[in-house]
Symmetry: C2
Subunit: 129 residues, 2 copies
């Protein structure tokens, strides 16, 4: 069994992630706001969004703030942290922790466009400065 994380370490599922994206895009949001942003794309109903939000609150990834009788939801973890965490997880799981292997994989599978290459080159130079 995977180790159970502490405060912010709970795994965020795919559906929950969609809700997080909405909250990262703009915060705070009410449940209705979130539904406006995701119910179209995922064909969800309000109850579904409510469930996901409360699960996220339970997991500690989202915080609520009372606003009259309703809640305003705010993410407690930042997108960059989440993204960084997930990226490292992938690199560890599939590339033995070596980011260069990931890069090689992307290159080999021709997933890199000329723009990507140029951008990466630019970043590399920047890092070397």
């Amino acid at each position: 069994m995977a180790k159970r994380g502490e405060a912010v370490g709970e795994r965020i599922s795919e559906a929950e992630h969609a809700v997080m994206e909405a909250l990262w895009d703009e915060r705070p949001l009410t449940a209705a706001d979130v539904c406006d942003r995701v119910c179209g794309a995922r064909a969800w109903s309000m109850p579904t969004v409510k469930t996901l939000l409360s699960r996220l609150v339970t997991k500690g990834a989202v915080r609520t703030e009372a606003d009259g009788r309703r809640f305003l939801y705010t993410p407690t973890i930042e997108r960059s942290d989440y993204v960084g965490h997930e990226s490292r997880r992938l690199v560890d799981r599939l590339f033995g922790g070596r980011p260069a292997s990931l890069f090689a994989q992307l290159a080999e599978s021709e997933a890199l466009t000329e723009d990507d290459l140029a951008e990466i080159e630019r970043l590399l130079k920047e890092l070397r400065s």
Copy 2:
């Protein structure tokens, strides 16, 4: 609901992935062989491995071949395909499909060692040749 893939498109879970790694490392293997390779690290029992193997067979990720009364298990999908698929999934989900953003993220979070940078630089040059 996520779309249900056809022949080889079924999602492979984390535990199943560990079994796949063993099979990618050497094939074909019997269930006992697989257990030898993973039961230590994951503290699994034989029945667990058997279950995972049959689920993988059901999902079409592993093929069996009779050998007397036992089975020899062989992966039907290659590791590089799986790894490429998962990488692209991550890039799509978290980086808007732009690999350069992934790279930027890794750089920013200081997940790149000097060796990684050198290696990536080398690969870049190679691609440009």
